[in-house]
């Protein structure tokens, strides 16, 4: 039966298989491209930005964007009430927003995962305490919780980041705990334990990698939430303080200028929208690509 042995197709490795699944969705690819672009802008902000973000050009306050009458090519997207170039502020704001996202999510994820692991693994009283705490945190609408934290810590960018990290925390704790409970009963864990693996090793080396998929998806979506919440706090004056070029705070005094200078309102919000959209697309794409592995 020599001819019956067809050439076995080279099976893709895990990473390659994941990429193939991810690339199925055009939206996911667009998201990825946008995120890459944003990261580049953030990293090279100083180089890309035409003006320093906080430099006030007194003679050019409230200039319209370049394509409007009265606009100037010097300030492509116009200037704000005190004469700062909006484009430059937006570019530097990218750096800020991405930093906020990364730090808040990283902070929240690390603490949340540990808490979730502990709760899910040890069960009993530890679990009850941890889960009650998360219930309480989830009872407050996220913005309210963030405001409460900022009320305690005081306004400012760093405090806003802590507040957001706290807001995201319960979600990661819950997710990790649920995943751990699901995995802990499985055979590979038991065999590891019999082989003599210590608790820490079991938790981090054995169980955690298998819970990674949903966590990754949540982290990406948490990024978008972090950026939105940071903007909200900035808008309310509770986050980044002037003159920091954070997108949300750029919008906070915008209401008065909405008739005279609508560009002051439109562009910062657009920046937020595009960034959050990019991460949401990426998160959705990740979820769809990891799905078959999620369902086990």
């Amino acid at each position: 039966m020599a001819d019956a042995s067809a050439e076995v197709e080279r099976l893709p490795g895990r990473v390659e298989a994941f990429w193939l699944a991810y690339a199925q969705s055009r939206g996911a690819l667009i998201g990825l491209a946008l995120v890459a672009l944003l990261v580049l802008v953030a990293v090279f902000a100083d180089v890309v930005s035409p003006h320093p973000p906080n430099e006030q050009y007194r003679d050019f306050t409230l200039t319209p964007p370049a394509w409007d009458a009265g606009g100037s090519a010097r300030f492509l997207l116009g200037t704000d009430p005190v004469g700062r170039d909006i484009l430059s502020r937006l570019i530097h704001g990218t750096r800020l927003s991405l930093a906020i996202g990364v730090i808040s999510v990283a902070l929240s994820l690390s603490i949340g995962v540990v808490l979730g692991l502990v709760a899910g693994y040890f069960r009993g009283l530890t679990e009850t305490i941890v889960m009650r705490m998360t219930d309480v945190m989830l009872a407050l609408p996220s913005l309210l919780l963030a405001i409460a934290v900022v009320a305690i810590l005081g306004p400012g960018l760093a405090n806003a980041m802590y507040a957001i990290a706290i807001v995201l925390l319960p979600h990661y704790v819950r997710l990790t705990r649920a995943a751990v409970i699901g995995e802990a009963g499985r055979d590979y864990v038991t065999s590891s334990r019999i082989a003599g693996a210590g608790t820490l090793r079991l938790m981090f080396d054995t169980i955690l990698p298998n819970c990674a998929a949903p966590l990754i998806v949540q982290a990406t979506l948490g990024f978008s939430n972090a950026i939105l919440d940071a903007a909200a706090l900035g808008f309310l004056g509770l986050g980044a303080q002037p003159p920091t070029p954070e997108w949300g705070s750029m919008l906070s005094s915008a209401l008065e200028f909405i008739q005279r200078a609508p560009w002051v309102v439109t562009f910062p919000g657009l920046a937020i929208l595009i960034t959050v959209l990019a991460f949401n697309l990426m998160g959705d794409g990740l979820r769809d690509a990891l799905d078959p592995k999620l369902k086990r």
Binding site: P141, A232, G237, G248, I258
Partner: protein, 323 residues
């Protein structure tokens, strides 16, 4: 119940965690002379051990005493009750908007999967929850109030009208007073804020409905219903929809928390006299009793709503109802 206690704990702890002297924070007075401070300390019960203070606080809360606002000198609870209806009205219409538009959109997207209609609905809803609410509200104002002049910019009703506050719900009160012009004014003022606030819930509902419908349409009983020769309408509405809506209802209920968050921002922009606005002013003016009481009350409401949703879920899902 334990969640509620946890929330009271947080609200209680808030005062003590805030930087600065608790006495000054609670009274609003700064730089008092020591004697007065001593007296206030005793009055507020701050000289007693913490657990006792907490017990007292909870006792007060259960009696309805949540402190007095530093700025208006009114009882916090009373202020809340006065302002809450405005927020309820806004949230109600926002949710109504979200359901009335989002539900059919999700159903349509599921039925016409992978067509232009589907992509349009999904694209719009993705954009919807990627937008910052306050920006979206500003844009809406820019377009409809400033450029087109269709809707008013802010407030609940035109200043010209003076409506006796009975229920606190502007629509009811204007009708009760028989003032149709005022009623219409109130309605117009509701439109834009409701749309702004309801956009994110709309996006979430549309997505959820679509995915739920898609799952249900694949089920065996839908195929069996078609094999019975039932009309397409019957298959989709009586069988598929009924089952698909079960998880969606839960999601709708959970939007309340989101609505309250969004209300804070929306009310600020539209100068809507509700509790969102009240809370923000409280934070900005360091009116700590307001902040403390506000957080407690809002969290309580969210907890109650979640309980109601859970109960409702038990009713509409026959598997739980009839075990």
């Amino acid at each position: 119940m334990p969640t509620f206690l946890g929330v009271t704990l947080i609200a209680f702890a808030l005062i003590h965690l805030i930087p600065g002297d608790p006495v000054e924070n609670l009274s609003g007075e700064r730089g008092m002379d020591p004697a007065r401070r001593e007296r206030l300390l005793h009055e507020f019960g701050l000289d007693r051990p913490l657990p006792v203070q907490y017990a007292e606080y909870v006792g007060n809360v259960l009696r309805g005493d949540l402190g007095t606002s530093l700025t208006t000198h009114e009882p916090v609870l009373q202020e809340f009750v006065t302002l809450f209806p405005a927020t309820i009205e806004l949230a109600f219409f926002a949710l109504l908007f979200a359901v009335v538009v989002g539900l059919p959109a999700g159903i349509l997207a599921a039925l016409k999967r992978n067509t232009v209609a589907d992509y349009a609905v999904m694209g719009v809803s993705l954009t919807g929850y990627s937008m910052p609410i306050f920006w979206w509200a500003l844009l809406l104002i820019l377009l409809f109030s400033v450029q087109l002049g269709w809707t008013p910019v802010s407030g609940r009703i035109a200043i010209a009208y003076d409506v006796p506050a009975a229920t606190g719900f502007m629509l009811f009160d204007t009708l009760r007073a028989g003032d149709i012009a005022a009623f219409r004014s109130a309605l117009w003022h509701l439109i834009l804020p409701s749309i702004a606030l309801g956009t994110i819930p709309l996006a979430v509902i549309a997505r959820m409905t679509r995915s739920s419908m898609l799952e249900v349409l694949r089920e065996d009983y839908v195929r069996a219903a078609r094999a019975k020769g039932l009309s397409r309408w019957r298959v989709v509405v009586v069988h598929a929809l009924r089952n698909a809506l079960i998880p969606v209802i839960t999601v709708i209920g959970l939007q309340v928390g989101l609505l309250l968050s969004g209300a804070i921002l929306t009310e600020t922009i539209f100068s809507w006299p509700g509790i969102g606005n009240w809370l923000i002013h409280g934070v900005q003016s360091r009116d700590y009793p307001v902040v403390q009481g506000g957080i407690l009350l809002v969290a309580t409401i969210v907890i109650v709503v979640n309980l109601v949703v859970d109960a409702l879920y038990g009713v509409i899902n026959p598997r739980i109802r009839h075990g």
